[in-house]
């Protein structure tokens, strides 16, 4: 559908929060706790913090929780009963205040969970989620959305994108059917937006590498062990990059049981961990951290574009901000794009 442009005041937006809650929706939004701004369940706009460039964690946890029950079970010697997740009990949620990069990231996640054998639980959560993004007035040295097809005011993925245009007003772009329904349900809160523009209110993020060069360069560099050793020399294999990444979807499946009942759980995992691919025999197809770092970049920039037809990176920069040894993925990608091959 064509994007519809409206304005909404901060006061009206506060009332929209009440309408969402009254309609039984939960609201996930950036909230400041101490020095950290992270996604948390909120009930009013005043709780929401939008001053940060980025939250520490990504909003992927809205539909891909760190630990998630796949089903529960009861056992006896010769009988097992499986209790499936009741999907109708999943709540409708609004993710408010996510950045355009994070909104775009949900498409990458969806591509992984719905290709081939669609994951019903993920799809049900995705269906029940509305994304109300807020575009970026500021960026930092780690941001590179414009190098991977996004932008500080990009609308892809959001149902509604708000831009703070000053004087207590937001420009509201109504992007999807879910967005249109949200506006309808908030009768009168969104007003016509004659003559308002957002461009002058957006951060400037200068593209810093040519994306078109990355995939062919990765293919050519695959066997260059020295290149990957140099790229990953500092990597501790801690997995922080994967945990904060809005598109990382690798997971483990574990049982948590006591006595005759328990749950089967899906838990976040990371290709950076040394045990990720370790065989029972002790053999490991990716025994070196350099090979695991290569896997991380290959997966996002070569395998996903080929197999799932989406890029596995949105340029949010979280992995670089979170890295305890200051590996800046942007520098690594620049080196790949500029490598002599």
């Amino acid at each position: 559908m064509e994007i519809e442009i409206k304005v909404i005041s901060r006061d009206a937006l506060e009332r929209v929060f009440s309408l969402w809650l009254a309609a039984g929706k939960r609201i996930l939004a950036p909230k400041k706790t101490g020095e950290l701004v992270d996604f948390a369940w909120v009930t009013q706009l005043s709780e929401v913090c939008l001053d940060q460039v980025q939250t520490v964690q990504s909003p992927k946890l809205a539909i891909f929780p760190k630990v998630e029950e796949l089903f529960s079970y009861q056992t006896a010697f010769d009988q097992v009963t499986i209790q499936d997740r009741p999907l109708e009990a999943l709540e409708e949620i609004v993710v408010f205040g996510l950045r355009p990069c994070d909104a775009a990231a949900f498409a990458s996640l969806a591509a992984i969970f719905t290709w081939d054998s669609p994951d019903q639980l993920f799809s049900a959560r995705f269906e029940k989620m509305t994304l109300v993004g807020v575009s970026c007035a500021r960026a930092d040295e780690y941001c590179f959305c414009t190098s991977v097809g996004g932008g500080p005011g990009a609308t892809t993925g959001s149902d509604i994108l708000l831009t703070d245009i000053g004087s207590g007003e937001y420009l509201a772009e109504i992007i999807s059917e879910k967005g249109r329904q949200t506006v309808q349900a908030a009768a009168g809160k969104f007003q016509p937006a004659a003559g308002k523009e957002k461009e002058s209110h957006l951060a400037k993020v200068v593209p810093s590498f040519a994306l078109a060069k990355i995939t062919p360069a990765l293919a050519a560099l695959f066997d260059d062990d020295a290149f990957w050793a140099e790229q990953s020399r500092r990597c501790l294999g801690c997995g922080a990059c994967a945990y904060v990444c809005p598109t990382c979807a690798c997971f483990d499946i574990q049982d948590e049981g006591a006595g005759d009942s328990g749950k089967r759980l899906r838990c976040w995992d990371s290709c950076g961990f040394s045990m990720f691919t370790l065989h029972t025999s002790g053999h490991n197809p990716r025994p070196l951290q350099s090979q695991r770092w290569r896997q991380r970049l290959m997966h996002k920039f070569a395998y996903m574009p080929e197999r799932q037809k989406v890029l596995g990176c949105v340029g949010c920069g979280r992995c670089s901000r979170a890295c305890p040894v200051d590996m800046n993925v942007l520098e690594h990608l620049r080196a790949i794009a500029e490598a002599k091959i």
Binding site: V80, I82, F113, F251, I253
Partner: protein
């Protein structure tokens, strides 16, 4: 929303447990839900995620052939948390099973050809499914040769079936154990699989070779097959990368852009030559 939970397993009852070696067992499993059992189909080469509730899941092939319906079998070595728990279960107890997953041995393409099976150690189970499948359709295939090796005589699995194959006039079976692994009454060969293959020198003419075994055996077997004249398109193997989901999502079984769980586990040597060495 009508699709099923892809992580919800079938419930299978352990009908029989066979001790293959001190740490390897075979389990015959039947569906607790009769209708699910009737509707369940698979093809040779496919695998599944077997689970002990409270311990977790583990990945093995289906070791029985699709030509024998009413049950599936798995053969596993007791090594980690789940296989140890599985090994402690008794007939009558219930386990979970998700599958079948992955691609197949293209046995209909092999009709009319000779078949050479080469297996090492605990890698006979995936091959046992395809061996029984073609033996159950015996008149569709030419000569069938099986070369099977293990570290010691005690490590040979499916001993009763090896005896059965040895007695069949329409199967040529060569068994071998690593030097030092023989028992006083061992009647098979002594030597590593690639060397035994080299000496047996089966013809590559109109022949498909299937190789399953530890990486080191596979590594030294491919050159011998090449020397015997087998082209890379007529050598098949299975990859055994670690898996969790089995459905192309959890991110760990990939070899380059290929998912072993979706694009494999069966690959030709020609395909392996195009893939990075991440297996």
């Amino acid at each position: 929303m009508s699709e099923a939970n892809i992580f919800k397993p079938y419930l299978l009852k352990i009908e029989q447990v066979i001790d293959e070696t001190p740490d390897v067992k075979t389990m015959r499993l039947v569906f607790t839900d009769e209708q699910e059992g009737k509707d369940f189909t698979f093809r040779t080469g496919q695998f599944g995620e077997y689970s002990v509730f409270g311990e977790g899941e583990c990945t093995f092939c289906i070791a029985s052939p699709p030509t024998r319906s009413g049950y599936i079998e798995c053969t596993f070595r007791k090594v980690g948390r789940v296989t140890s728990a599985l090994a402690n279960l008794e007939p009558g107890e219930i386990i979970g099973f998700r599958g079948p997953y992955g691609n197949i041995f293209p046995i209909s393409d092999w009709e009319g050809k000779n078949l050479l099976f080469i297996a090492g150690g605990i890698a006979l189970p995936p091959m046992r499914s395809v061996i029984w499948n073609v033996l159950d359709l015996r008149d569709r295939y030419g000569g069938i040769t099986i070369i099977y090796g293990a570290r010691t005589v005690a490590d040979l699995v499916y001993k009763r079936e090896l005896d059965e194959w040895a007695e069949r006039a329409d199967v040529k079976l060569i068994t071998t154990v690593d030097p030092g692994g023989e028992t006083p009454d061992w009647k098979g060969k002594s030597g590593f699989v690639p060397a035994v293959l080299d000496k047996a020198a089966p013809s590559s003419r109109d022949t498909v070779a299937v190789v399953c075994g530890p990486p080191v055996m596979i590594k030294f077997t491919f050159p011998v097959l090449a020397k015997l004249g087998f082209g890379p398109e007529s050598i098949f193997t299975t990859l055994e990368n670690r898996m969790k989901c089995g459905v192309g999502k959890c991110g760990r079984c990939n070899v380059g852009k290929y998912f072993v769980c979706k694009d494999g586990p069966v690959f030709t040597f020609a395909q392996l030559q195009e893939m990075p060495p991440e297996y």
